[in-house]
Symmetry: C2
Subunit: 280 residues, 2 copies
């Protein structure tokens, strides 16, 4: 079967690498200019799957994608973690002394903060994509501009890696969600993501977490986002181990309904158990 | 007394407006190019106070400032909430049809997403500051560029407000912290901010929140941030009503020490009680 996946960015972006890791056989990846369009393509069933970065272990959560998960009729059907190795990429033959500007995605620039601080005369410029920055330099053939991106992007655009692994922390991973309009099994769905808002009662967040603790359900992540139009109130995004077919998870959500004003189940999916995950 | 305050951005930025609201008399505001330098100026006691945006009711938290609070020897001594009204600002006499580009801070552009979507031919370009974008247009006298910024910035640079209040949600507030190196009383300190990480035990976050719930201490905000270099582990930032002089708060923190691997008290300060705050 050929899987088709929409991702944000140009070919050889980290999202496309993550899609290749998740769908090892015959995946067709569609470069898409924005996260909004990835969601729209999936929501409107133009492309069956989308892949979106959701958090990075240095930069933190990609909050826009939390908001978009809430706003669209999509479900999470998988997750994948990808080690992010960032390289300084130039036209072949360019030396460090020639570089005046470095282009990359703001998250990649932030992950190389220490590296960049060693070259205060070089201007760091935000672009919409890591691989897109490499493409730009390769097309315009500008020797004074470097990009920060993956090895794959460097190789495929015929560019040179001037400095390898320039990220501040080697333990740099990005977690991606695979989204679709319908539940689709990629294995045992042992993890679930939900979003909810609480009633205006004292200890509402504590009581919300108790519905999981009382049933020995381990949380792996909590994220809060403002409720737009209602100042100082928040939506909470939770990930926990378990799936919505299990009785204890259904009971926990029924209990949560007593405390929550709103709940949306974002999906049960097989966890990316490549890396140990701490319980909260 | 003349208070001196460092803020990120150019004169007439929202941070300077917030400083004027917090220190009504004789405040001297120092424009500073980055949040890092605001913290450094305060940390190194070059300027006694700093003001930093910490969350916006549409855009969400300003995560970089959470990280910087952890990394510097500063305490939070006050908070202030400011209504954010965003206007489309041009050189005098410019009409909507002439505009090809709109400059503003990425958070301001995001808060005007619906407005911008009505003009798909106009390019939205991120700049480091709202007021700085107005300054740029006024200095370079470019009629095809507009900025999104405050009325104050428009007036002081002699510019025209072409469209008023173009933000998607009128309930648009930014919350700021006032930071210093030492505790400084601006009133009754009824609110406290802390940051902690938990031990690797099941239900650690639930148990951490229980130390407040069990003592009737109301939480107003939780924010999680990755621990850099330790994938999939998080720091939790909590705000609660109470101050560290109160016995129940000291008991709660002593109890939290049993569950937490690390705790830092960021400060007790008078809450900006201009707006109703929901309990969690």
């Amino acid at each position: 079967m050929n899987c088709e996946v929409a991702f944000q960015g140009e070919h050889y972006a980290f999202s496309e690498l993550a899609a290749q890791k998740f769908f090892p056989n015959d995946v067709i990846c569609h470069p898409t200019p924005s996260f909004e369009e990835v969601f729209r393509n999936v929501n409107d069933q133009k492309i069956p799957f989308g892949i979106i970065p959701i958090e990075n272990t240095i930069h933190g959560s990609i909050h826009r994608n939390f908001d978009l998960l809430l706003e669209h009729d999509v479900v999470i059907v998988g997750e994948v973690n990808l080690r992010i190795e960032l390289h300084l990429i130039t036209l072949p033959g360019v030396q460090m002394e020639q570089i005046q500007t470095i282009y990359s995605h703001p998250a990649a620039l932030e992950q190389c903060r220490n590296f960049l601080s060693r070259y205060p005369h070089i201007e760091a410029v935000s672009s919409y994509d890591t691989a897109g920055s490499v493409k730009l330099i390769s097309e315009k053939k500008i020797p004074t501009i470097a990009a920060i991106a993956s090895q794959w992007a460097a190789e495929d655009y015929g560019m040179n890696i001037l400095q390898r692994e320039i990220e501040d922390y080697p333990e740099n991973y990005t977690r991606f969600f695979i989204i679709s309009t319908d539940y689709f099994s990629f294995g045992n769905p042992d993890k679930t993501s939900i979003v909810f808002s609480t009633k205006n009662i004292p200890g509402a967040l504590f009581k919300s977490l108790s519905v999981f603790f009382l049933r020995d359900i381990n949380l792996t992540k909590i994220e809060s986002r403002p409720i737009k139009g209602t100042p100082w109130e928040y939506l909470f995004y939770l990930d926990f181990f378990g799936n919505m077919e299990e009785e204890k998870c259904r009971n926990a959500i029924r209990h949560l309904e007593e405390i929550a004003e709103f709940i949306k189940i974002l999906g049960s999916y097989p966890s990316a158990n490549n890396f140990a995950t701490k319980s909260h």
